[in-house]
């Protein structure tokens, strides 16, 4: 098995706020991420696909195909958007790194026609990231 990873970057704004909690609770739990005016990040997304290289093309999957999928599913949905208000898949969820990574996993997983999605790693900053794996897969 060979792993292939493609990296893209997008920028988006978000705010952490749970309407079921009081304003004071929200500040206590989310700190400055609760700022009513929101804030933003430069996200880096690494998408890893696992598979055997095709004997004819030598590829696990065509990178240009993966690029198109990432453009359509992630860039057009999230780049320069407000994650709380403009991404329907995140409606009702706090747009944490964990939740955004999981939404991206769910968007990409059915679209990968060759190989299988192995890992989605989403960096919110250089020092904070979330990983999604298929359960049981070796990190």
């Amino acid at each position: 098995m060979v792993l292939l990873t493609r990296k893209i970057e997008f920028s988006a704004s978000h705010r952490y706020n749970n309407p079921e909690l009081s304003p004071e609770e929200n500040v206590r739990v989310f700190g400055k991420c609760n700022n009513p005016h929101g804030h933003g990040h430069n996200y880096t997304l690494e998408v890893t696909v696992a598979g055997e290289p095709d004997p004819v093309t030598g590829m696990v999957l065509d990178l240009s195909e993966l690029k198109k999928i990432l453009e359509r599913e992630v860039m057009q949905r999230m780049d320069h958007r407000h994650l709380n208000y403009e991404v329907p898949e995140l409606a009702g969820k706090i747009p944490t790194c964990e939740n955004v990574a999981r939404v991206i996993w769910d968007l990409l997983e059915p679209k990968i026609a060759q190989g299988t999605l192995h890992r989605v790693r989403l960096y919110e900053s250089a020092d904070l990231f979330a990983d999604c794996y298929r359960n049981g897969a070796k990190a």
Partner: protein, 149 residues
């Protein structure tokens, strides 16, 4: 529309921390000549240092109310207290008890950091990865007998 696939996907949170520390690679089980041959300039009796990067990965259920596996402030506070306060701007050989008997290689450093962070009560520690320099990194996921010692 979308089927529930929660059990099929595992989510981890990764966090990077930094500390600077001195060390000297020297094994009491080897002769002076063997130490010098094996560790080269890392055996310098006066020691040397690195800017270490520690990557901690934890897993757990994403809390619906917060969207988080764990509140970062809790993880940061724990790592600060258990690891960074004990290692940053210190001599690993002289000031971290385990390295009085073990050689403070980055392999052993991974194991020691894993041992310390494993006690974190709010999420499951999956992995510790340490960069000694930007060119050398080491990972430990707790599958070694020594992690239980």
């Amino acid at each position: 529309m979308r089927t529930e696939r929660g059990s099929e996907v595992k989510i981890e949170l990764g966090r990077r921390y930094r500390f600077a520390a001195a060390h000297r690679l020297h094994s009491a089980r080897l002769s002076e000549e063997e130490n010098s041959r094996l560790y080269g300039k890392c055996n310098n009796p006066l020691g040397h240092g690195h800017n270490y990067v520690v990557e901690i990965s934890v897993s757990g259920k994403v809390d619906r109310a917060t969207g988080m596996i764990v509140n970062l402030a809790d993880l940061d506070g724990f790592v600060q207290h258990e690891v960074l306060d004990a290692f940053d701007h210190r001599s690993l050989n002289e000031e971290v008890p385990v390295f009085r008997s073990e050689v403070p290689t980055t392999e052993n450093l991974c194991i020691e950091i894993f041992r310390r962070v494993r006690a974190f009560p709010l999420a499951k520690l999956e992995r510790v990865r340490v960069e000694e320099t930007s060119n050398n990194s080491f990972e430990y996921a707790g599958d070694d007998v020594r992690s239980d010692s």
